[in-house]
Symmetry: D2
Subunit: 197 residues, 4 copies
């Protein structure tokens, strides 16, 4: 089984709604064990750098998909705190050669979501991970009617929510994009696992 | 008179259409002398680093607004070549303390336009310039009916063109955003000039 | 008087050591009132978005210089939390047209400090501020013996600390760079203030 | 055999010197066929989008390692032109799921090399490639005497050259870092190939 954790933070539920679709897309791939993990639940490292709670799930994962809102032009501070809590793992390079990918949601069509994806890529690279791109040709080029990759993002999944509850927004195309993204990362993880010497 | 040059490259006319609106917005401010300059016209530096053609207009400007399409995730190579042609000016810090700003157009709603704006900011900072932000609250928050700053960009102006000729696309709101952006940079330039000791 | 606030976070004292030099450089310019403000001291906004403590100093400032360590490839989470606490100010565009600049310290010679500066620029641009570049030719080109701008940074000040206490590291050239940076931003602020209609 | 192409541009020979070491590191892994390709040699696409010259080597590769100097804060214009020449391949997603990685050289210790690496990552992501991080703990943490990853870069390899000929600078540690980087990407490519269903 390929173990995939979707490690996300969500302030108002919109990023969570996408995280659930990314999870569904990954879990829908045969042979994949996918788990949702809200990073707010993860405790701070102990004085001896020990990590309790659900940190072990991240350490045991074959892939981690990072998800966060874009707030004031970057990952949320709650997500950034999680990034720093991982610094002991980084020091020991405990996540080296895991698969990584990322997604973000905000209110603007573009806004500064790419800055957030850059932060996630840099973070994954510090952990010596392997970054999987979106892999979906934007709907402006395919006209596929499903509105996949509506915002034309390549480095990770971008979604956009209007003012409104998370069961109404982001729109359906963005949710389907989440499923496709989860499935792509899951398949890449399986391939990467299968190739291990 | 505050001298402002809009230094742009355009492959298919869409970025030029926005450049013209940025120019109109700047030129419409009392006391501003605004000029459009297609960077393709600028000759390479001579072996002695001398700069002919219209380079003198850039060196004499109080502000330079940089504009380029986003192609394959960054400024166009024609624009990048212009950036490198300016390296002799950079070495002598000839543009130090000029005002700078930037805009970019592409086919996606977000795409990688922020990467292009980052490249323009980094370039302006290498020249020790002063960067003026967009300064326009996005239409998703104002609901002003003019669709100003439709894509929610802050570091510079982002516009988006569909497949179609430059007289049809980008849409009217993006063109009005170009005018507002040119006017904002012009006013900032006047203020900066007026404050010179 | 031009009012300048250096709003910083420091984990182990190295960023604070640079913040103090930036403060000294700004305060040393005639007609400048410069203040150090550790963003950890700033309270969260109230339920009615009211801001107590020293938030008023930021709102009254003519320029804000942002400073943060680079941790795990970006601004510290404590600094990011401050950024989000400012979202009510952002919504009302209360910092529009203030001068902004930024600095960061980390253990690597390059590391991901530019990612941190990008985050600070994007943040300042969201607030519709005016960004002042470093303005100092790197020591590799000047050979001035003072080791100014040792790391060749343009978008903001980069400094580097070895393992060691903050009175020993970062080195003297980085501290002098801090002073030069503070003075440059102070002078730009005075010019910008003097030009106000 | 895993086919790896190091696709680089070099202005004065320093980036080429590193490209040669990256090539040596990759070629030194058993079962790897590594090739150096100066992107200046690649012809523009024909009017019918056909690609002659050595473009076929890139299309046949299992991995492409991109290398470019950082000039004026970004990839060289010659490298950017190559990126745009690849837009027909991008349209057909011909490089999808190839392995990618990147390196850059410049005169400053940090400078804006991270901006160049961001451009390369965004470019690889547009091509739906899989990005391999540096994977080498910086020498400031290892004190290994070999000065590997001297500049503490994670997203790709950063090297730094003083004024001087390419046989003297960058220093030996940067060259060894090039070899380690080539070997790491080669091993990741083999694993990725082996896992293909």
């Amino acid at each position: 089984m390929a173990k995939i954790v979707i490690a996300y933070h969500s302030g108002f539920g919109h990023t969570k709604a996408i995280a659930e679709r990314v999870h569904a897309g990954a879990a829908g791939v045969n042979g994949v064990d996918a788990t949702l993990l809200n990073v707010e639940e993860l405790p701070a490292p102990g004085a001896d750098r020990s990590l309790g709670g659900r940190w072990g799930e991240l350490n045991a994962a074959d892939a981690i998909i990072f998800g966060t809102p874009t707030y004031m032009g970057d990952v949320s501070w709650v997500f950034k705190r999680f990034m720093e809590y991982s610094s002991g793992i980084w020091f020991g390079q405990g996540w080296k050669d895991k698969i990584a990918a990322g997604f973000t949601n905000s209110g603007g069509l573009s806004g500064d979501k790419l800055q957030t994806l850059h932060t996630l890529m840099v973070f994954a690279n510090q952990h010596s991970m392997i970054w999987v791109s979106t892999g979906v040709t934007p709907s402006i080029y395919t006209g596929d009617g499903k509105d996949l990759n509506r915002l034309s993002s390549y480095s990770g999944l971008m979604t956009q929510a209007d003012q409104g509850p998370p069961d109404k927004t982001p729109p359906q195309g963005d949710r389907l994009s989440g499923e496709a993204f989860g499935a792509r990362v899951a398949q890449a993880t399986q391939r990467w696992l299968a190739g291990k010497a």
